[in-house]
Symmetry: C2
Subunit: 258 residues, 2 copies
């Protein structure tokens, strides 16, 4: 295992110790948005602070782009940048549902180096680096591979919430796509992308993601054989409107509809 | 532990052995509906057949109401009836998401005797009988208790999918309720009701459930201090349109809106 990957696993282990201790306890929930309910807990902040401190100690010249604290807010040429979502799915976390995850990515300029996504209650860890894409559960590690799915009519597609599609154009696009899909799955947050990489879901279509919601997952999706872009078909180097698919033919069909 | 409860745990253990072996494998998915995609797998059928055989051997005079095989289709006075959903959340199961569960209930006439809901990948088991409501995780068992939540404006509410609200009246009712809630959660299937019993979710509002989707959960909700009725406020003795709340004040507010 490469040095950065071993270090990222150590970060995920540290995060898991904190999230496991806080999950399903009576923790205070704050609202970090003035416009709607956007929950954050002290566990989100503790995990990100802990991961940031470890990165700063180990790689003091690396940049850090996280959800909860100020830092860089873009990938930049000739910089190594860690992208962190301490708890992706805070709404699931505060509702007792074990579908949240800790996401950690590393980029060299705008190119992915590694990504890791961890759900310590279920015991699911997904990661990827230059050596491939992997999934560990119950002490067994397997390579990840997306599945073949040529067309929307055969596809299991997913999105976390109807509320992600805010504009009329987004709602119309989603409706047209979901009407043609075989099965639509709601909820899931990061898990949908990991399950796409594992060959259980065919496409994830969402809007308005943060960079930390998707950049750590991009290497896992790509190394498993999938494709992830924005709705315009461009490479994902920040957040925004996202289309991920396990099969390039399905990705092309969805992009053509958008 | 009472004899029926010990037997129900044994049934859940048997089911778990089958579901664990089948989860995230390449299993064939059939469509059991002519109108839309309603998936079923051989694992659903194997689990229900196994549970039915054990009940028939142990309690040959008991009735069985299950999702996948013919049997009784109502609770009846002076009969003991087991109500079984071998995999609640088959859509989650076939998508690799560990939020499905095996549900087993027992009714004496129309009165609940016990309910059990099991998620073996996460290691979450919820159950209730005359001695109380309980949750086991990682070999630790705790009593379940709903939380206080007096009003919709403070409530975390959940529904598995927008597609459950089929009629214009149902859509309008849901929209009015969800607009006033603090947080809306999608996905989850049976898990939402169990997390309501555990004090993490305040209300679950859904339409068109099968009896096997809700009857095994009713004893768990009620023994934890919650209330579950249909949209007309009547006791749940079959499927239909369901309102569950952890706090009777919230339940009353929701019913008043419906």
């Amino acid at each position: 295992m490469e040095a950065f990957t071993a270090f990222a696993h150590q970060l995920a282990d540290q995060a898991a110790a904190l999230t496991r201790a806080g999950f399903r306890t009576s923790i205070a929930v704050e609202n970090k948005s003035a416009n709607h309910f956007d929950p954050v807990t002290k566990i989100d902040r503790e995990v990100e602070a802990d991961v940031r401190a470890s990165i700063a100690a180990q790689y003091p010249d690396h940049h850090i782009w996280g959800e909860e604290f100020a830092g860089v807010t873009a990938l930049a040429a000739q910089n190594m940048t860690w992208v962190i979502d301490p708890i992706d799915g805070t709404r699931a976390f505060i509702s007792g549902m074990p579908t949240w995850g800790t996401l950690i990515g590393l980029y060299d300029g705008d190119q992915p180096v590694l990504g890791i996504a961890d759900q310590p209650i279920v015991g699911d860890r997904f990661w990827a680096d230059a050596t491939g894409a992997f999934w560990r559960h119950s002490n067994t590690t397997n390579a990840l591979s997306t599945r073949s799915c040529a067309s929307l009519k055969d596809a299991v597609i997913a999105a976390t919430s109807p509320a992600l599609f805010e504009s009329p154009a987004q709602k119309t696009s989603w409706q047209a796509l979901s009407d043609r899909a075989r099965l639509v799955r709601w909820g899931g947050d990061w898990y949908n992308y990991a399950l796409l990489a594992a060959g259980h879901i065919d496409a994830v279509i969402e809007c308005g993601l943060g960079a930390y919601d998707i950049l750590p997952l991009r290497p896992i999706i790509e190394a498993a054989g999938g494709i992830v872009t924005n709705w315009q078909g461009q490479a994902v180097t920040a957040g925004g409107d996202i289309v991920a698919a396990g099969d390039a033919r399905l990705h092309a069909e969805i992009l053509a509809q958008l």
